[in-house]
């Protein structure tokens, strides 16, 4: 049995269909990239797995996780899985953290929810987690407010929160898009290490093809709410089947080539 | 009828009072001032649909005629506050710094002083009357209108096409006429309906406190004040004046909300 089975997922806003019969499987330990432009429905798909769709959205179909049908769970039942078996990392590090709460307390939140830890115990564990995500001086960080940290540091906090309870599935929604380029690489490297250490599955949502190739083995290409191609990463680059996938690859290659030319000083 | 449900309900409620006011000009069930001690504090019946007060005056007739007082006061007050407010708002926005600062200071002071308090001070000097109520409410509300208008005008003044017009030599008057007035028209309607709601509440409160229209002209607020002593005998008399006030004010609030929705659907519904 797969870890995650999505069948015919349809997400609508009123009459507008934004995710159109999406189906895919994810095995334990597998890493899947979901790639597409904005508006392709990739973020909504990942939110649907976590039960975090906005109130105005309607989801139908089936999302089976470890044998449980997620779409039929109540808010309370779903909250036992979020942050526990499934962890999520979001795109905007600044707005994803509560500006009025110290960062350590936010890291301790999943531990208090699912491991029954007191705030004190949670804060102690938060120190360990800060070290794990490569933050120097955890004592100071844990007492800081989000606006006192840099973008890269905030995103590491986001990782710490997602990993706190050792989830079997990690969903990352464009986690590095809002970061500076140099920081991006560091955070991606960190994510790679952590996911490998945990042995968890990963769903990595992004619009950036080169990033997907460094982080995942399989990739699903989404366009207009549908999955148009779903293969191994190497196969996609070697033999893209759908026109859209070809376009994505060509654009990525062209950007890379242009970047190389620019870096070498030749006239653009 | 527009598709906007809020607006429709609001307009329906709002139409209630002017209808009564117009009706009162031609017909009322009884003469509201007619004293009839035999039927003092009568319960609602077929002959007196809403009962009578302590002097035997028909409640329904008094409410119908009372609408005149309330609407007249509110209408005049809103007229004053919109005219003064808009002029002040546009004026302070387009005028040079040295003129602007004291004017803004003045507006802030008036804003800080609540309507009723202002009316109290006026009444202390000139005695309570419809006039003092109108002036007090009008001036107090004009500060709020001025502030909101000024903010909006400032936004318009900073748009590219106005800056361009200014640079190409259009006079201030021209810019006001061509660019500012048409663009604030919609928000002025919204503000006017909000101001009407506040004016009606203020007028009835002032007349309850004895600071508004003087007897014997019927007025909703004063009817309520008078009926308070007799609650033990006839609790229902107090119900009717309040009810009409609520209906009218609610109507104006809904009209304001409905207009805001209709004119700018991107605005989230929040308390003004």
């Amino acid at each position: 049995m797969s870890l995650l089975e999505v069948r015919d997922l349809v997400i609508k806003f009123g009459d507008k269909i934004v995710v159109d019969h999406v189906s895919f499987d994810l095995q334990a330990g597998e890493r899947l990239g979901i790639i597409g432009e904005s508006g392709s429905g990739k973020t909504l798909t990942s939110l649907a797995v976590m039960g975090l769709l906005p109130d105005t959205a309607m989801a139908t179909g089936s999302i089976q996780f470890e044998g449980t049908e997620l779409l039929s769970l109540s808010d309370r039942e779903m909250s036992k899985i979020c942050g526990n078996r499934i962890g999520m990392v979001f795109q905007e590090p600044l707005t994803s953290l509560n500006p009025l709460m110290r960062v350590g307390k936010q890291i301790a939140q999943p531990l208090r929810n699912h491991r029954n830890m007191s705030l004190k115990a949670g804060l102690v564990k938060a120190l360990t987690l800060c070290e794990r995500v490569g933050l120097p001086d955890p004592e100071r960080i844990v007492r800081a407010y989000p606006h006192q940290l840099s973008g890269g540091q905030r995103q590491r906090i986001g990782l710490a929160i997602a990993l706190a309870c050792n989830p079997v599935l990690i969903i990352a929604d464009e986690p590095t898009t809002a970061l500076d380029v140099t920081v991006q690489r560091e955070v991606l490297k960190l994510m790679n290490e952590l996911v490998a250490q945990e042995g968890s599955s990963l769903i990595f949502v992004t619009h950036d093809l080169p990033v997907v190739s460094s982080m995942t083995e399989a990739v699903a290409v989404m366009q207009h709410g549908k999955i148009v191609e779903h293969t191994k990463v190497d196969d996609l680059f070697a033999h893209p089947r759908h026109d859209y996938s070809k376009k994505l690859i060509d654009t990525a290659r062209a950007t890379e080539a242009e970047f190389k030319r620019f870096a070498s000083g030749a006239p653009v | 009828m527009t598709r906007n449900r809020t607006l429709n309900i609001g307009l329906g409620l709002v139409a209630f009072s002017p209808f009564m006011a117009l009706l009162s000009l031609v017909w009322t069930p009884y003469d509201p001032l007619e004293i009839n001690p035999d039927v003092s504090l009568a319960k609602p019946s077929l002959s007196h649909l809403l009962g009578t007060d302590v002097l035997g005056r028909d409640v329904l007739s008094n409410i119908i005629v009372g609408s005149r007082t309330t609407l007249l006061t509110a209408f005049l007050a809103v007229l004053i506050c919109m005219v003064v407010g808009v002029i002040a708002g546009i004026g302070t926005a387009v005028s040079p710094r040295w003129m602007e600062t004291p004017a803004i200071f003045g507006i802030d002071i008036i804003l800080a002083l609540p309507t009723v308090l202002f009316a109290i001070v006026l009444a202390a000097v000139y005695g309570p009357s419809t006039f003092t109520a109108v002036v007090a409410i009008g001036i107090a509300l004009s500060a709020a209108v001025a502030q909101v208008t000024r903010r909006e005008v400032n936004v318009i003044l900073s748009t590219d096409y106005v800056v361009a017009a200014h640079a190409s030599g259009s006079s201030t008057g021209r810019i006001v006429r061509r660019h500012i007035l048409p663009n604030i028209r919609a928000s002025l309607f919204v503000q006017a309906s909000g101001a009407s709601a506040i004016a009606i509440l203020a007028e009835s409160t002032l007349s309850y406190l004895g600071l508004g229209t003087t007897p014997p002209a019927p007025s909703w607020g004063r009817m309520l004040a008078a009926s308070q002593q007799y609650l033990i005998i006839d609790p229902i008399v107090a119900l009717w004046p309040g009810l009409v006030i609520v209906i009218t004010v609610l109507g104006f609030n809904l009209v304001g909300d409905g207009l805001r929705e209709a004119l700018d659907p991107t605005l989230r519904k929040s308390a003004s």
Partner: protein, 238 residues
């Protein structure tokens, strides 16, 4: 026109404020106590019928004149159930504090209802704002239900706009107090003002209004200070 010395007026103000100030304090606390939870509830049930009903009730609440609410409450609780006095205040003052509280109960509730309706709308829109924030989503991603996430992360954030609105409402509260004192025949500052108006004591009215306005500014300032402690971001900037 009576000409009172400065000392007399100060004395009178002091005595009367032992009625008015507790009234305003009680009303503010009651208003916050009921408007914040109700506003948050209305936001949580945003599209469901009980949420819509709750916000409809608040729409009604801001359309109702304060004095009418007072009279209705008198009708129900004083005339009907006869549990609370219809007006007046014990002559002995706060030495018999139980009956003082009883006398202030209905007036405070009246004032609280009027203020609360307005505050509830702000609480509701502030909460809806919070629900739409990214950090609310993160909180739920850590395993909190919407209600839990709101209680832990939402209250403080929703409180900030509500408290600042309360600060701006101080003058409305004072006006409300004047009205309520008139409805319930309470010997407070409001009643004193109205009496002075009827005898045309212009100087005294002017003086009282000046003192009141000054204290309004003072309270607004204190509320600003309170807001700063609630919001660490503002603290840093200073």
């Amino acid at each position: 026109m009576s000409i009172l010395t400065g000392a007399d007026i100060a004395d009178e103000l002091l005595t009367k404020s032992t009625v008015t100030l507790p009234l305003i304090a009680m009303a503010s606390v009651l208003a916050l106590l009921f408007s914040i939870p109700l506003g948050m509830y209305a936001a949580l049930r945003f599209r469901r019928w009980d949420g819509i009903a709750t916000s409809a009730v608040s729409q009604l609440g801001i359309a109702v004149p304060t004095f009418w609410v007072g009279v209705i409450l008198i009708t129900i609780f004083s005339v009907g159930f006869q549990v609370l006095p219809a007006g007046g205040f014990p002559d002995e003052g706060w030495s018999s504090w139980a009956s003082c509280v009883k006398s202030l109960a209905l007036p405070a509730i009246t004032l609280a209802l009027a203020q609360g309706a307005m505050l509830m709308r702000f609480a509701r829109s502030a909460t809806i704002d919070v629900i739409q924030q990214d950090y609310f989503r993160t909180a739920r991603a850590t395993g909190l239900t919407r209600g839990q996430a709101l209680r832990i992360h939402g209250v403080r954030n929703a409180l900030v706009p509500v408290v600042s609105v309360l600060g701006m409402q101080i003058s409305t509260l004072i006006v409300g107090a004047i009205i309520v004192e008139s409805v319930f025949a309470l010997p407070g500052i409001g009643q004193m003002l109205l009496q002075d108006v009827s005898i045309r004591d212009y100087t005294k009215v002017q003086g009282t209004v000046a003192v009141t306005t000054a204290s309004v500014f003072l309270v607004s300032f204190l509320i600003d200070v309170a807001l700063n402690t609630l919001n660490p971001k503002l603290r840093q900037r200073q």
